[in-house]
Subunit: 344 residues, 2 copies
């Protein structure tokens, strides 16, 4: 069993820096595209054998140090009562977005072990076939709320911020309901075998520091308090978070995710070395020549230095058109370069 | 003549903090929508009487302390040889995006006084009718290059970064061509009567600090060196720039634009008070109740304190559906609240 990833989460010494990529089970792999040609995204998520198969694809093909269960952050929205579809070329669409107090009150309670049982089944299947740790995950309340309120992806978060500013009680009610569902959902994932958890607050960078503090922080703190009881490492991820990192750390997480907009050493110094960090290669650098890619991997490994607790990752999910050679090269470079530094 | 804005740009004492809004001539005003119902965006830009008329609309209706000439950052791309159209609901589309060295070499030199004469005409007309300073503007090389290469707005800047990493000579050639066109274009705007200049590097927040330093900074430094000779205040604006601000200041500008993702006092302390700052209200707060808006205006005015050199603005352009009452309220609050603080 390769335990570099779990050791790094706990800031224990490792022989080489562990590496995995967000969305590593994805369209950049032909094996994944083959499955997606035959099945919709929701079908793959809801069929444990298929979800397990795509979870394993990158592990069987590359030298990744961790796997992440194949699922979508929006899955818990269905049992809550939202009509969800993934429209080709458009991304997720929610046909009955939340706009009023009544909409929020009408959300249904969720028993994840029942309505999301397929995720737990996929986790169990994957665990039985893996020799690297398996990460479970969920979207964070703000990021999920933004989809629920906007009805899909958003540029300006108009309706989300309208509710935040104009109906803060409705907003808080929604965030509380989401926090509860997510805590239960992540608990069920750990029961099923997830060995670490990542909370994706992908769109949190849309908020000012003041708004994060007022409208999001209390809920994230509550969520992480609940997750802490599960006894597995917790990764707290977002993008565009340069001015939110300190509050994210305060909210919780053993590992703080960093995107490429911050220099890893400066961000880690700012956070303090009592947390681990994950990141932070720009996924677009994988489209450049290997020589350029090497400079950037070098830079990140050098900035991480000998501090225990660095997990190498991209700053956001890998893109569909990414060349396989780049993926392979990065993993090898991370292992080799970090092993040299850590051995000195 | 109201000269609060120009005084603040030069960090001279003012009686009250000047305020203007990016995209203040825009769809949130009925008078603007009426004109746009009859004429396309490009027609309004290219008809000096219409461009002047919409430039004046917000000045006649609100107590703004500065005006900005109505134009689009993409206008200089047409004489460079790109086929540009604004498609309803989609935004700008460029039908012949740049992808190769040959494409970049084929770009045509631009004499702004000729091919963009309509902008200078609009500036002259507007100046004759204004009692507040008139700002000229242009997009920054990176932001314009991203549109030229992607063929429109972009989420990931795939082709832009591919060129940056994979063909840095082509990239630098493009940036140099753009820098030259933009310097000439802004020079012509000053000759026509623009009393200050804003450079919009709106999408620069997509880059890591290291990539900004390598691929953008040298060009921005060259651009601002050229602009400095024109003798008018220079505003250097971007979004998502929390980790780029220091380099932006080093590149140039009398005023650094701040978006809402940074706290104004922290960003200004970080930059140093030898530059002025502009910002930084989240444009979405204008959709909230006036009482919430007031808290946020209060907070920004309080953070700016008594330091000379704060220009109040949004962190990005005002949105089409923004309520007029909020615009009116913010301007009044800024003037009243700042006057009280500055008088003590």
């Amino acid at each position: 069993m390769n335990d570099r990833f779990l050791k790094a989460c706990r800031r224990e010494p490792v022989d080489a820096t562990p590496v995995w990529f967000m969305r590593q089970a994805g369209r950049y792999m032909k094996a994944f595209r083959d499955i997606r040609e035959k099945h919709s995204l929701l079908t793959v998520c809801k069929t444990p054998e298929l979800a397990c198969e795509v979870t394993l694809q990158p592990i069987n093909r590359f030298d990744f140090d961790a796997s992440i269960i194949f699922a979508d952050i929006l899955l818990p929205l269905e049992p809550m009562g939202l009509k969800l579809e993934f429209v080709k070329g458009e991304g997720p669409v929610i046909y009955n977005p939340l706009r009023s107090e009544k909409d929020v009150e009408a959300l249904k309670p969720v028993v994840p072990e029942e309505s999301l049982a397929y995720v737990m089944e996929a986790i169990k299947l994957a665990r039985a076939n893996l020799n690297v740790p398996l990460i479970g995950f969920a979207g964070a309340p703000f990021t999920l709320a933004s989809y629920m309120i906007e009805g899909g992806a958003s540029r300006n978060y108009l309706y989300t911020k309208k509710m935040m500013y104009g109906a803060p009680e409705t907003w808080n009610r929604l965030m509380m309901k989401l926090t509860r569902v997510l805590a239960d959902y992540l608990s069920a994932q750990v029961d099923a075998g997830a060995q670490a958890l990542q909370v994706f607050d992908s769109w949190i960078g849309a908020l000012s520091p003041g708004d994060y503090r007022t409208y999001v922080f209390p809920h994230m703190k509550r969520l992480f308090s609940a997750l802490q009881a599960f006894g597995v490492p917790l990764i707290h991820f977002g993008t565009g978070t340069a001015t939110l990192l300190q509050m994210q750390k305060e909210a919780g997480g053993d590992v703080i995710g960093l995107d490429w907009r911050v220099n890893l050493d400066e961000a880690w110094d700012h956070l303090g070395h009592e947390v681990a960090v994950q990141g932070n290669l720009d996924p677009l650098t994988l489209f450049g020549p290997i020589s350029e890619l090497e400079k950037r991997v070098d830079d990140i490994i050098r900035r991480a230095g000998k501090h225990p607790g660095h997990i190498f990752n991209l700053g956001h999910g890998i893109l569909p058109e990414t060349p396989l050679e780049s993926v392979e090269a990065v993993i090898q470079m991370v292992h080799e370069k970090s092993a040299k530094i850590l051995a000195t």
